[in-house]
Symmetry: C2
Subunit: 203 residues, 2 copies
């Protein structure tokens, strides 16, 4: 294996377009954008992540549906939305996920860590996690829900369905003190405790 | 961590329904189904995987779009489809993925192995992989394509977009001799070499 330097351009860079397939008005960012309309663009319809891991949001000010954006090319809304139940093709704000670990530093799988709890408020059965799980139930988790979570290190994304599909919930050690004690704290789009897969966000 | 036995019911079991949200006619399977219409059902509209990892297909006889189905609950087509570009809400056949490794046996990440190549016919730059990669470009892969693949051990799923989104291509060591030398061998739905993330299929 002799791969190129994966971070030739610095720690954070994303290029967004106001039309699908990398067409139309083009803007580059190296830090958070709270409202893309302030840049004279009505919506983001395609994007390329060139450095770092980012969180995209349906609404301005980092509200609404959440989308994990890792390095690569996203030609249209469905390429980042992960087949959510409601289709509102909007991305209006985004920011770097600063606590995401570098994958190469994380080969021993000990750097990212979180604890999931069966019930809200860190109650019930608990399980310490430091790896990716495309199916929590395959590993013996008893149902399709998580009640609460404590992120001790790194950044994580939880998904409604197995195999990293459905609603995305981004959980970070440096936000909320890493504590997410009820689904109401997972994001304004969260409507239930349903989580069936989760993984580390790495860059 | 004190979790239940993750495989209480044997190695393979899936329950399918002809209506969304686990409603309507209900059928249980412990092995492959080549055409759900032979069971008097016109389409699968929700399902629960109770044991093992399965591959679902848009058409009968394991053709068309592919869907990885790991243990858990899938209440509608979008929960397994992974936001593909074309929306034909059909799943007509499915089968166990026999070469998928047990996750617990695989903690050292040495059991599943494949080699990806820059060009078709196992040409160009190559990279041996034994871990999950939500972004190949973040790890230094130079573009958004893979030319060909050799699966040496286990089963893998490749995705069109980063973060395990878009078209799914299931690659197994015990099919095609593990050799996928052109995108035409990845499945009848494959239309390009575009692959931006891939992961092991575990159960």
């Amino acid at each position: 294996m002799a791969l190129n330097n994966p971070n030739p351009l610095g720690p954070w860079k994303v290029t967004v377009y106001d039309q699908e397939n990398f067409q139309g008005k083009r803007l580059e960012f190296t830090s958070a954008c709270q409202n893309i309309m302030d840049c004279g663009v009505d919506n983001i319809r395609s994007l390329k992540v060139e450095c770092g891991a980012w969180a995209g949001y349906e609404h301005s000010s980092f509200c609404g549906q959440q989308f994990v954006l890792e390095r690569g090319e996203y030609p249209h809304w469905e390429s980042w939305s992960g087949s959510n139940a409601y289709h509102i093709e909007r991305m209006m704000s985004f920011r770097p996920i600063c606590s995401a670990k570098k994958k190469r530093e994380n080969l021993n799988h000990k750097e990212s860590k979180m604890v999931v709890f069966e019930k809200e408020n860190f109650m019930g059965r608990q399980w310490e996690i430091n790896d990716d799980y495309p199916s929590l139930q395959a590993m013996g988790w008893s149902n399709n829900e998580i009640g609460s979570m404590q992120v001790q290190s790194g950044a994580w994304v939880c998904y409604q369905y197995p195999g990293y599909r459905g609603y995305q919930y981004i959980m970070e050690c440096d936000r909320h003190g890493g504590e997410y004690k009820h689904y109401r704290e997972w994001g304004s789009h969260a409507q239930s405790f349903q989580v069936q897969s989760l993984r580390r966000i790495q860059q």
